[in-house]
């Protein structure tokens, strides 16, 4: 592995304010092993670059995914060093599932650490345990998805069972990884009482978590399915309203989970 290692980059978003502490550069890698029904980035599923045409627009086809070397990506990332310093920010790898392009992902994290840049890994947690262990020294904070409670439901909603993810989570937690749990909350789909109870249980059982963030569902990705020629998953979700947000907040206040916040 070297600085010449190549990967397929979906996007590089600078001045990202919501993907970890401080001001960050979020690098989105293509490819994802999950197929969450609420996914708003279906262009990140395939690892290979792909073309899409926005219907009714004269802008011409748009390419998703650009092969880049570690050195090229880090060149972009380093442009904002001064803002990482003033804000406590750094690099966030996201996706897709960034660990799917494992070598590239590992090389980027290592390069960032070698340059003194704080790192976050935004992951669904699905993959071989040894890969996560290998990345551990170069990840300052895991942004770890927790998507659904219950084995069947998880499988139905994401395409995979939660077993591997849960195992990896425990393993990393025990090895001292710093983890922020991020939970997409899709009303009517994964926000049942059992889910809330499970989250409260996690907050109790894993007191050293960096936090648990609830991410209210939105449907902005809807148009992308059409562009990519993909069927839009049937999802009987509705958008969360203020009452629901209040209910969630109220629940975690009542159960004494100060660590849980609604983003």
């Amino acid at each position: 592995m070297s600085r010449e290692t190549r990967g397929i980059v979906l996007d590089i978003q600078r001045a990202a304010l919501h993907d970890g502490p401080g001001v960050r550069t979020t690098v989105f890698l293509k490819g994802c092993p999950l197929r969450c029904l609420w996914c708003h980035n279906p262009e990140s599923w395939k690892t290979d670059p792909e073309c899409a045409v926005a219907p009714g627009q004269d802008e011409g086809p748009k390419t998703y995914g650009l092969p880049m070397t570690v050195a090229e990506v880090m060149g972009e990332v380093r442009k904002d060093l001064v803002y990482y310093e003033t804000s406590g920010g750094g690099l966030t790898l996201s996706g897709g599932e960034p660990t799917l392009q494992f070598e590239f992902c590992a090389a980027l994290l290592r390069a960032a650490h070698a340059g003194g840049i704080h790192t976050c890994l935004d992951t669904c947690g699905f993959g071989p345990a040894e890969r996560f262990l290998e990345l551990l020294p170069d990840v300052d904070l895991f942004l770890w998805d927790y998507k659904a409670t219950g084995r069947d439901l998880h499988k139905a909603l994401t395409g995979v069972t939660p077993d591997t993810i849960a195992r990896n989570f425990r393993l990393l937690y025990e090895r001292g990884a710093r983890i922020m749990l991020r939970c997409p909350m899709v009303p009517g789909i994964n926000d049942g009482d059992a889910h809330l109870e499970a989250l409260a249980g996690i907050a109790r059982d894993f007191p050293d978590l960096a936090g648990i963030e609830l991410l209210p569902y939105h449907d902005w990705g809807a148009g992308k399915y059409e562009m990519l020629g993909l069927p839009r998953p049937a999802l009987a979700a509705h958008l969360p309203d203020e009452d629901l947000l209040r209910k969630w907040r109220g629940y975690f206040e009542k159960t004494g989970c100060a660590n849980v916040v609604v983003a």
């Binding site: 978003q13 600078r14 001045a15 990202a16 304010l17 919501h18 993907d19 401080g22 001001v23 004269d58 802008e59 011409g60 442009k79 904002d80 001064v82 803002y83 310093e85 003033t86 804000s87 406590g88 920010g89 991020r182 997409p184 963030e213 991410l215 209210p216 569902y217 939105h218 449907d219 902005w220 809807a222 148009g223 983003a263």
Partner: protein, 754 residues
Amino acid sequence: MTMTDSTCIECAPRGEIFDRPLALELAFTDTYRRHRNDPIALREAKCLRVQFPAILQPIDGRDLFAGRIRYPLVGFSPEPMGLGYYCCFKTVRETLEKLPFSTAERESVEDMLVFWEAECTHAKTRAAFPDSLRRALPSDEWMSTSGIAFPLYRMAGITLDYGKLLELGIPGLKRLAREQAASCDGERSLFDGMGAALDVLEDSCRRYAREAAELAAAGGERARELEQMSEILEALTSRAPETLREAIQLFWLYALLSGTWNYGRMDVYLGGFLADDLESGRITREEALGLLRSLWRLITAYDNQYNNRVFVGGRGRPDEKAADQFALLAIEATRTVITNQPQLSLRFYEGQNPELMRAALTCLGEGRTFPILYNDDVNIPAVERAFGAGPDEAAEYMPYGCGEYTINHASVGTPNGVINLLKCLEVALHGGIDPMTRQPCGIPTAAPDRFTGFEDLWQAYARQVEHHLEALALQEKLTYDVTGAAAPFLLVSLLTDDCVRRKKEVFSGGVRRLGGTIETYGNINVSDSLCAIRRLVYEDRVCTLSDIIRACDADFSGFEDLHRRLLGAPKFGNDLGEADDMARRTHDHVCLSAQAQAARAGLDTYLVVIINNSANVNFGAHTAASADGRRLGEPLANAVNPQAGRDRSGTTAFLNSLTKLDPGIHAGAVQNMKFSRGLFTRNRPKLEAMLGGYFRSGGTQAMITVVSRDDLEAAMREPEKWGHLMVRVGGFSARFIDLPRGTQLDVLARTLNE
């Protein structure tokens, strides 16, 4: 920009003895004519005597200070009405048509107009142009005609030594003028004139003292307040001010009578008065805030959104603690008096009391757009280089108006010309012809089909720029010379370094630094265009230069594919080496070319200013489509900001691009930035970190807008211009324009709930 004829009707006077329309104008003209051949200082003093206190307006119901003004249609003004002796010809003629006048009156007015047509300072300046200048600057109509460069006739950006005013008071200044007059070997009229001008100021105090006393005598809840106002105004005629209220009153009347409207480092010259008043218990902080709020309203009434600068903060303040206390009060006044004036500006440096920046950001976050932020740690070394000044003098740098730097009460730097750089490129691409008029424009250069490479194009562009800068610098000096020969500007010279010591008028050897500036427009359109041309024609070779010229001439109609490619070329504002390097090259070229004109023209400095006002829109309207993808008639980029909507790589990329242009070779470049309200509230530490990073990387200044409902609605109407607008909903951020319409409406609604 100066007021135009069409707004002058607002300035018609309401003085007691001049109830008849145009009576004051005729009296002024008569006085001028009688003293036409007197020494210019005495002539000016006589003219001031006609104007003041006649044009001072009544004390308004809530004013805590006396001082409102309305200029006549003919008169004398350093800044508000144009240049020196002025006449609003158009409005006078309209008045003559609209209102009944006797035949004799009509004749007098016609006679007056004929007189000023040759005698007003503007006309004298134009008449003094040598042939070479007439050729290079053929038109004055920069708002309505196509062209490269245009002269402006004005003086602007004078900031007076108010510290000296408040220390000496009127009696002290009169003593100074007398002593100086006595020490003159020969010609002493300058100081006699200053003495006479101070008499006019004194009389204006008395006139307002009487008015306040009369209003007080009429009773009512304001009686005590007005009585005090009257006492203060009376006291100011016999001694220097002793309290904050007295100091503000004297400052304000002097500013009005001097005809200048940028107020310098207010925390330095008022901070001590505030501290003394608070310490002695003479007033409470709340009362002091009330005084400032009243002053802010008076400044707003002295309506000029382009000027009215008040500075607080920064290095070089002798009593920093007192100044900080005043600065915080000033920011609070701006936060709570909701107007667009004064243009409160905060200078800051690493190690300054952090309270000031905190208060400033809170004020900005509430959507005030003030204070404007200036980074001393970058600006002071930059001003040292640009002005050739020592560190102490550079620490007195003082932006005024739209953002032109001067040295506090020691320099003038009027922008007396405008140049459309994109028109220079356009003409260069048409071999010396303006495609908008199909007439020759500027100097003839080689036809583009003879260019052998990119450097030939660059040279053709550069020659147009240099040719016009040469002319503009000479015109600037000439304007100063003609203006200086017309008037000494007594109240300005009295408080401008080093006029008194040198015994010279401000424009005739008095001011320490006689500087000029040139407003340049289209800088970024030029660099983005050159970058696109170099990439597509000379590197990727996907089209020829004549393809691009034809596409621009056709406003891209029939050239949609090429238009897309041009838009797709690297653009300034995205932290991209290629585009930013080209921006640096054009920036260095125009700035250094201007700088090189100073000595030739006989100026101490001649510097580029890249500011924002409506000129980018006016010039844009007369500029063809350009190779950066900008369409025919669209506005040029604002100041050195990216062309609207072309910065699409996030806030930090935008900020990084801004810091790449050398600040040490010009006299101010405006940096506009818009942020979302959420950033100022929910993500304040991250916002502070981004601004901190920008300033640490060499950011000179920030003019911050916090986006409002209007911005979001505009973004929905014209998404192509709002690529930079980021919004936060739920768990992540998105570019607003990428969102489907329904979500945009949703975001719009949520923003309103904040």
